[in-house]
Symmetry: C2
Subunit: 223 residues, 2 copies
C-alpha cells in the first residue's frame, strides 16, 4: 500500500508492511510451510487473484516472503516465509490469543480448515508445559503435520514424517471440538474419533497441546 502512516513509531512502521488487509493471514498460512499461489487462494476465501499477487509482491519487497521455483517435475512457484517473516510468529500468536474468545462454537458458514486447527494447536503447545523432546505426526482431516519438540522449542510444519515418536489422527471438526473443550480427549479416544499411537498417552497429549479437560464438567448432554 502506498498509503503509509508516516509516523516514527515501530508499531506504525510494522503496520505499514503487514497492516494491509490479508497480509497477516497470508503470513499465518505460510507459517506451516510454503504454499503455491492457488493454495493460498484456496485458503483465503473472498480474496481475488489481483489482491493476492499484489500482496505477495509487497510482502516480497518487504522481505517477508520469498518465492522459490520448485524443482521438476513439480515445476511451479512456491511462496515461503523468510526468516524475517517467521519473526512475525509472535504477532500472529498474540492475535490468536486475543481472538480466541471470539471463536463461537456454533457458527456455520465459517470456514474450518485443518491449517487453522494446526496453528491453534501449535500456539497452545508453545505455552504448555515443555515436553521432553520428540516428533509428533499429526493428521487433521486430510492433511498431515509434523510437530517437532526440542529444547523448549516447538516447530510445526506441513508434511509427512517417516518414523515419528508418536502419531495423532483426528478429523478437522473434532480437532476444533477438542480445542474448544466440547469434546473430551478421553471420550474422543473411546469413540475412536481421536487416534493416538506411539509413546504418547492421553494425559500427556492433553498437556502437550494445552487442551481443556472436558466440556462442562458434569453435563454430558448439555445439548
Amino acid at each position: 500500500m502506498s498509503k503509509r502512516y508516516e509516523q516514527h513509531c515501530p508499531v506504525a512502521q510494522a503496520l505499514d508492511v503487514v497492516g494491509e488487509r490479508w497480509a497477516l493471514l497470508i503470513v499465518r498460512n505460510l507459517l506451516l510451510g510454503p504454499l503455491r499461489f492457488t493454495d493460498l487462494l484456496g485458503a483465503l476465501p473472498k480474496m481475488g487473484t489481483r489482491m493476492l499477487s499484489d500482496r505477495l509482491k509487497n510482502l516480497s519487497e518487504a522481505g517477508v516472503v520469498a518465492s522459490r521455483e520448485l524443482p521438476p517435475p513439480a515445476s511451479t512457484v512456491a511462496y515461503a516465509l523468510t526468516e524475517r517473516g517467521f519473526e512475525l510468529a509472535p504477532v500472529i500468536s498474540a492475535l490468536a490469543d486475543w481472538g480466541g474468545p471470539l471463536l463461537t462454537p456454533g457458527k456455520r458458514a465459517e470456514r474450518r480448515d485443518p491449517d487453522s486447527a494446526a496453528l491453534m494447536l501449535w500456539n497452545r503447545a508453545q505455552k504448555a508445559k515443555r515436553p521432553p523432546s520428540g516428533n509428533v505426526r499429526l493428521e487433521i482431516g486430510e492433511r498431515s503435520y509434523v510437530f517437532q519438540f526440542r529444547a523448549g522449542e516447538v516447530r510445526a510444519q506441513r508434511g509427512e514424517l517417516a518414523a515419528p515418536d508418536s502419531a495423532v489422527a483426528v478429523s478437522t471438526s473434532d480437532a476444533f471440538a477438542l480445542l474448544e473443550g466440547s469434546l473430551d480427549v478421553r471420550r474422543a479416544l473411546d469413540s475412536e474419533r481421536l487416534k493416538l499411537s506411539g509413546q504418547l498417552r492421553a494425559p500427556a497429549f492433553r498437556e502437550l497441546f494445552g487442551l481443556p479437560r472436558s466440556s462442562e464438567g458434569g453435563a454430558p448432554h448439555a445439548r
Copy 2:
C-alpha cells in the same frame, strides 16, 4: 468493517475486529490513557473525522474502547480502552518488536510524538530486568508520563505524579535518540539534554528502559 474474513480461526476473528486500517493505532494511542476525539485526530495524521468516528463506533461495539463523559467543567467525552482493549497490549508489543528494525534514524517527514517514545520505553521496560518497585515521572517534550513498577509489572500512563521516587526529563527527539542509541545516556546527562532526579542513577536508568550503551562504540563523530 462489514467485510469479515469468515474463517473459524482466532487470528482471522481478531483481525475482523482490529485488522482494519487505523484500528490498532487508535488502540496504541489509548494504551497510555484516555483521549478525546480531537486528541486522537491530532495523533493520527491523514485520518479524517469520518474514519475516526467510524472506527470508534466499531471498536466500541466490539468492546475494545468505551467512551466516558468527563466530569464538569471539562464536560466532554473521552475514549478509553476497556479491559478487553488493554489485552491487546501484547499484540501492539509484538508489532513494536517486529517494527523496531524498520525505524530509520534519518527520515524527515515522519511524525515524532512523545507518545510513541513513551510507548517504546514502556515496551522495553517490560522486557528489561525487573526493577524493585517505585514510580517514575517521565517528561518527554511537553508531555508527562507516569511509570509504575511493581511486582514485575510495569504500567505507563499519561499524567502527572505529585511525589515520584524519581523523575526524568528529556526532549522528544532526544528520547528517540536515546532509544536508537545515537545518544548515549552518559553523554546526554553531561550535556544536560537528559535530566535525572531522585533515586534513579544513570546505569539503573539505562537498564530500566533497556537502552543501548552507546551509539557506535568508539566513533564519536561517525557523521
